[in-house]
């Protein structure tokens, strides 16, 4: 075919904008093929290649960064600074997740090429969600992410708990997708378009707002389900606890970027003019999540489950930013999403580091006496817990400061006060880990650190980043603010 005709079929500018996604898709398929022809002993190569793919994708994404926002494929795909920053976050945290996962999966005979293929497809799904310009592309990305995640959770087939978790995840995830889709169909019915920009234009006129609002409610439920916001949080604790920890780490941290992207695209790019209505709903979800997450977390003895409930409460904090409904609020929520992803990766990694073949350091009690066995490691875990609790100068503090500011700015003083009270409740259970590590005596031999050097280094970098990014919060913050032109 002559090149001119090809240009007519798919304008090269469109392909250019989509280059990171196209590359990620091809790379995931390629890895799947390479894995087929690779001896099991040499599977380390796949790990290396997967990391390389992430780096290459980061280069491709960074190439256009800072340029003006562009759309491709008739508005189906949007590339702007917010998308670029979120995607870079996805690559970075995914890379950490891969490094953490390798020894864990090896110890449990789960180290297969499928992990990388599924994870990269999940990354691709997230990239599509982040850059979605229409309801269809957003839904496609979401389903790609969701299906890959179900597969990842179910990877440990012999383990009934993991299978149960996967089943729950699948059923409730499908329900959430259904609700979201239903909402989207209502929005389509009210506006006659799947394009978010077109929906935005129609939503600005008061016609059909009843039907549109009806759709918005269902879309919001879908978003809340995916985020794990209460009262749509039931799947979170079971899935987090049941999934192999390395998988929990991945699905518990990286997709937060994408869910934030989805919420932003749907709520602001799509039905932004209706923000007076949905802001109150988001505020309500935030309040319920804060209370439910923090109060139930108090009663947990399983660390993974505790982190699951803590996720719910952090989603509540993130929604504080969304509930602001303005650019400053989105910047705050995005900063929170980025901070939380980094913190969550580190928190789950602290479990991985104390686990070994046949033993998962899932209980809080497994952290007892860590300080006496390995002081530096305990100090790093202290950083993570302090950051999650929102103690300055760690990263988590600035994230909380930013969303509380957004809530106050949006006139939601009651929510801001509820949030800080919940932060104190949260501090109590994070302190339980610190207590176990520092103040209690080890059980038996005490906690043993995993010998893998890469994981140790990655963990040290990840946890120290919470302090460094906290003290020097400006670059990350200004990126997030620039993304929404604050």
């Amino acid at each position: 075919m002559p090149p001119e005709a090809l240009k007519l079929l798919v304008p090269s500018a469109d392909l250019h904008a989509l280059l990171p996604e196209i590359f990620m898709c091809s790379a995931a398929f390629a890895l799947l093929m390479v894995d087929l022809f690779l001896a099991p002993a040499r599977r380390g190569l796949i790990h290396f290649l997967a990391l390389l793919v992430l780096v290459a994708a980061a280069v491709l994404t960074a190439r256009d960064m800072g340029g003006p926002a562009t759309t491709a494929f008739n508005g189906m795909f949007v590339r702007d600074l917010a998308a670029d920053v979120l995607k870079l976050g996805v690559y970075a945290v995914s890379a950490f997740a891969f490094v953490y996962a390798k020894p864990f999966l090896q110890d449990r005979d789960l180290f297969k090429g499928e992990f990388y293929a599924l994870a990269l497809f999940a990354v691709l799904g997230m990239m599509l969600m982040i850059s979605a310009g229409s309801l269809v592309s957003l839904y496609l990305g979401l389903e790609l992410l969701a299906l890959s995640s179900y597969g990842l959770v179910a990877m440990d087939r012999e383990n009934p708990v993991a299978s149960e978790a996967a089943m729950k995840y699948f059923v409730l995830g499908a329900l959430a997708s259904g609700l979201l889709l239903y909402g989207m169909s209502m929005v389509y019915g009210a506006t006659g378009s799947l394009d978010l920009a077109a929906i935005h234009a129609v939503a600005a006129t008061p016609e059909n707002s009843g039907l549109l609002l009806f759709g918005v409610v269902f879309m919001l439920v879908g978003i809340a389900f995916k985020f794990g916001a209460a009262p749509f949080h039931m799947w979170v604790p079971d899935v987090y606890q049941g999934a192999p920890t390395a998988i929990t780490l991945f699905i518990g941290s990286v997709p937060k970027f994408a869910y934030f992207g989805m919420a932003y695209r749907l709520l602001e790019s799509g039905v932004g003019p209706l923000d007076a209505d949905w802001r109150m709903m988001v505020a309500g979800l935030a309040a319920v999540s804060l209370v439910v997450g923090n109060v139930i977390a108090l009663a947990q003895t399983n660390f993974k489950r505790l982190l699951a409930y803590s996720t719910i409460s952090h989603v509540g904090f993130l929604f504080l930013g969304l509930a602001n409904g303005g650019p400053a609020g989105y910047a705050a929520a995005m900063f929170y999403a980025v901070s939380y992803a980094v913190m969550a990766a580190a928190a789950f990694a602290s479990i991985l580091l104390l686990s070994r073949r046949g033993f998962d350091a899932e209980r809080i009690a497994d952290f007892r006496g860590l300080w006496q066995k390995n002081g530096p490691h305990a100090l790093l875990v202290l950083f993570i817990m302090a950051s999650l609790a929102g103690v300055p100068p760690f990263l988590g503090f600035w994230a909380k400061l930013e969303v509380i500011k957004a809530a106050l700015d949006g006139g939601l003083a009651w929510l801001a006060i509820l949030a800080v009270v919940c932060a104190v409740v949260g501090a109590f259970y994070y302190l339980r880990i610190v207590r176990a590590m520092f103040f209690e005596q080890p059980e038996g031999d005490g906690p043993q650190l995993h010998p893998d050097g890469h994981v140790r280094v990655a963990f040290a970098v990840n946890a120290a980043a919470l302090l460094v990014l906290g003290v020097f919060a400006e670059p990350l913050l200004s990126w997030c603010r620039a993304a929404f032109a604050v």
């Binding site: 300080w371 002081g375 503090f397 800080v420 501090a427 109590f428 200004s478």
Partner: protein, 504 residues
């Protein structure tokens, strides 16, 4: 002209860096770590000297200023500066830190390098609190302090240390998050975190009321005031000696300092309107907590309650200033109240630090804090008994000691405010004497109570140095408080002007 050396930054970061380095020594070289930590603390103390000599006490302006953008997106700056009030408290901090390290030399043998490192880091953060001119920076230091203190109580504390440390952390955290919301509100309204800008920011009545109670939540827990004082006896009893000393001598002062820096200048009208709340709570602290102290069987608990009662004077002296300056027009008396509060803070730093150190000396030998286990200590430890009795007298407010000066000033000022208040406050002179001297009588005097007491050895040179320096401080302020009062006078005059001016 900017000073050649960023003195305040050095005072903050030198101990923090020193603490981080001390951690690296490891348990096997804990002995070297101790020497290193002490040298760092001494160097920090030496660096405080130019602060005192270089300060122009006749000016209320913030001096030794440093200003760098920190988080420009938020308009948060790394802005430091001190006036007489801050310098007095920074001096107290660096001096007490040295004494605490010296006091713990032999008492702590479990992971001593980490113990010393924690105190150094804590020292840097406390200096940061006293020199921050940016509200966000202040909050960062204010909260970051909790972590080392939490670890100190929880790791090296007594049998119920876990409970005490968590209670300490959560109480303080809960109080301060309300302040955080208040500060964010102020930032949204005024677009600045600088204390000077916040002071100038006009606020209406309702706003001031909410902000006043937000600040009150944070600082009343820290002081602590009745009824949020209950963490203090637990924390003091369970903390190791050094932790108790730092807690009583400096961390409580941060509450009083916060009132002076935030509540008084930023929300003067709400402060005036609700001063009665604070005054009432202060009087309860003075009278009721004084009675509670009388009933204690544990020496550390007794001193902890006595601290609460004495800190009641600080809040009393601070908040009577409103009515004095605004209703009666006695600006000089208002200043006297504030001076009394400040002198009381510094004096209490020396006396309570010394009292806890004394209990530490006894505890190191007998491993008991119960009054009933002692008796007739004077027979075996005459030098110690001398110092202990001196500190007890100071604690009871004997003229000639620093304990008398602050309390006397506050009582005089409150007499002009309301004679009944002065009467209630003055009961502390009786109650304080009662509980302190009764404890001393039971512990120090009488016949040797048991074989353990008979086997006691008197204080060694190191302990004598620690207690001697505390005694010198208490005596110096007691006999000649003028330099201390002059140091802070210009700032307090300015403060009286600020709280007397309505923002409405």
């Amino acid at each position: 002209m900017p000073p050649a050396l960023p003195l305040l930054s050095l005072l903050i970061w030198l101990p923090i860096a020193g603490g981080a380095l001390a951690l690296l020594f490891g348990d096997r070289r804990a002995g070297q770590a101790k020497v290193f930590a002490l040298l760092v603390a001494l160097l920090t103390l030496a660096l405080t000297v130019p602060l005192f000599t270089g300060l122009d006490a006749s000016s209320a302006a913030m001096q030794f200023g440093e200003s760098h953008p920190w988080i420009p997106s938020f308009d948060i700056g790394y802005n430091l500066g001190v006036d007489g009030i801050s310098v007095a408290l920074i001096g107290l901090t660096t001096l007490t830190s040295v004494l605490v390290l010296l006091g713990a030399w032999e008492a702590v043998d479990n992971r001593a390098h980490q113990y010393f490192a924690s105190f150094l880091i804590l020292e840097g953060l406390m200096v940061g609190v006293f020199s921050a001119l940016d509200a966000a920076l202040f909050y960062v230091f204010f909260e970051a302090m909790l972590i080392p203190m939490f670890i100190i109580i929880g790791v090296w504390g007594g049998p119920r240390r876990v409970y005490a440390s968590v209670k300490f952390f959560l109480y303080t955290f809960l109080g301060s998050v309300f302040m955080l919301v208040g500060l964010i509100y102020l930032y949204l309204k005024g677009g600045s975190w600088q204390l000077a800008d916040l002071t100038a920011l006009p606020l209406d009545r309702t706003e001031q009321m909410w902000l006043f109670f937000a600040f009150l939540a944070a600082f009343s827990v820290k002081v602590p005031m009745f009824p949020v004082h209950t963490w203090l006896p637990d924390a003091h009893v369970e903390a190791p000696t050094g932790g108790s000393v730092i807690l009583a001598a400096i961390m409580l002062k941060i509450g009083g300092y916060g009132f002076l820096r935030f509540s008084l200048p930023i929300v003067p009208d709400a402060g005036h309107e609700y001063a009665w709340v604070v005054i009432a709570l202060s009087l309860i602290a003075v009278v009721y907590i004084g009675l509670v102290a009388l009933a204690q069987a544990d020496m550390k608990k007794l001193i902890a309650y006595s601290s609460i009662a004495h800190m009641g004077f600080v809040t009393l002296g601070t908040f009577i200033a409103f009515a004095l300056a605004r209703e009666y027009g006695y600006e000089d008396t208002a200043r006297l109240g504030l001076q009394g509060a400040m002198v009381q803070m510094v004096s209490h730093g020396f006396i309570s630090g010394a009292m806890f150190s004394c209990v530490g000396v006894l505890y190191d030998r007998m491993h008991s804090r119960m009054i009933a286990d002692y008796g007739g200590v004077v027979n075996t430890m005459p030098w110690f008994a001398t110092l202990f009795v001196f500190f007890a007298m100071a604690n009871a407010g004997l003229p000639g000691t620093s304990g008398f000066v602050g309390e006397f000033m506050v009582v005089i000022a409150s007499f002009q405010y309301q004679p009944l208040v002065a009467f209630a406050a003055a009961t502390t002179l009786i109650l304080g004497a009662a509980y302190t001297l009764w404890m001393v009588k039971r512990v120090v005097f009488g016949d040797v109570a048991n074989a353990h007491v008979a086997a006691l050895s008197d204080i060694n040179a190191r302990e004598a140095w620690v207690l001697g320096v505390f005694a010198l401080g208490a005596l110096a302020i007691g006999l000649y408080p003028k330099p201390l009062i002059d140091l802070m006078d210009a700032s307090l005059v300015q403060l009286v002007g600020q709280l007397a001016t309505s923002k409405l």
